[in-house]
Symmetry: C2
Subunit: 242 residues, 2 copies
Amino acid sequence: MKQPADFAADGMLSFRAAPFLSPTLTADPVVLTPRQREALTRIATRVRLKSRGILYQAGAPADAIFAVIEGVLKSYRDLPSGRRMVATFLFARDLCGLAVKGRYVNTVRAITPVTLYRLPLAALTELMKGDSELQFHFLVKVTHELREAQRHAILMNRRDAAGRLASFVALIAEQQSGAKSEHGSIHVPMTRSDIADFLGLSLESVSRATAELKAQGLARFDTRHHLRILDPSGLARLICNV
Amino acid sequence: MKQPADFAADGMLSFRAAPFLSPTLTADPVVLTPRQREALTRIATRVRLKSRGILYQAGAPADAIFAVIEGVLKSYRDLPSGRRMVATFLFARDLCGLAVKGRYVNTVRAITPVTLYRLPLAALTELMKGDSELQFHFLVKVTHELREAQRHAILMNRRDAAGRLASFVALIAEQQSGAKSEHGSIHVPMTRSDIADFLGLSLESVSRATAELKAQGLARFDTRHHLRILDPSGLARLICNV
DNA sequence: CGATGCATTGATATCGGTCAAAGATGGTGG
DNA sequence: CCACCATCTTTGACCGATATCAATGCATCG
């Protein structure tokens, strides 16, 4: 364990798959035991952020990772060109805080008010050293994230804006599939600009793509942040045309 | 460990950072102990592939992961559109073979003749269960790969073909920095088409981009597979203009 | 009810994709 | 040793999609 900070190699780790530190259990096959959860909560502290609050900046010394309890955040990097790349959006049960060489690689900022658990890196690695099952959970989660990152790369390979947006819609729809789908509308807390930075498009293109989805009768925005999916199978078809 | 195959979540895992199963030690801080290396070699078998040979197909049951001893491979997926996405190129000391739900997600094919170690998943997970340090190594490596995948996504966000190609050049140059840089030329075993599939460009665009790099005096191909970098700092500048 | 972001819509230009053809390269076999 | 072939690569012309620039609409909040 020469450099414990090194395992924390990315700002976009999301462990949605695991009911990490969460009281609710999901159908997910990977679950922490009560003992593990207790051990984690013992080293954790709570953090609260209001909308637009910064959890940490890229380049800052990384001494902890975070588990989202509630709210939505974005993990992004500002590139030299002025472009901003959103690596991922973080939802409840996602993890973030990974770093390279002891420094966070991405900036994480709250999109809505959020609460998180803060897990000091030193204590966490100590914990994992003695609990190889717990560590295995992390391995699974990181691997899962790796897969997501690859999908992101594939998504960015698409030529058509509408297809990219459709993928984003599917992503966020799945994310909220568990939540009460009140009157069938999906809550999209992020701005067009955030979406654009995630999809690698200009915000104008995102806007035009939403218009296209509407024109095709696939989905439409009731309000800025409320999306209604009209034709799931049509959307799915569009997404598959990678 | 309900589903050991699940930790193997991607076809693009590369553990270049670790002298995995390799006799040579690097300056890398993360090293396996002789005991760990011995344990790994005990469960490993050797595999040989000639150029263009397929290591495994996407979708095939994943029962092992592989460590590249020598040679170059590509890990890719054929998308419904007919497009092919190269997730990563694999070099000596890289790992591959990760899967989702017990099935490989990517196809891996040899670009040059290769030799690899084959590590049966069952034995490996068993090993990791008892050796949390070894598992930690894997965690570090996967995390490292995650970071690479993010960089790939950022790369794909670029608009200009020359910039993307420059990034690829830097990637492969760094990869071979250790090798004997015979007369300063870099060996590029993959075809333009492979490069295109990795960069998300058409092969014609790759060709035009090479012409542009040459025109700008940054780099040029002596032969198809031998690249000469003429202006490292100029290249670096181009790469930074993300 | 301003005012300030945020979002949409429009016009234009640029860059890469696509189609097409010609040019290298390397290996094979006569 | 050379000719031939398959494969890979380069180059050109054209088109289409998105970025960019610019202006207008629309909320949300003080």
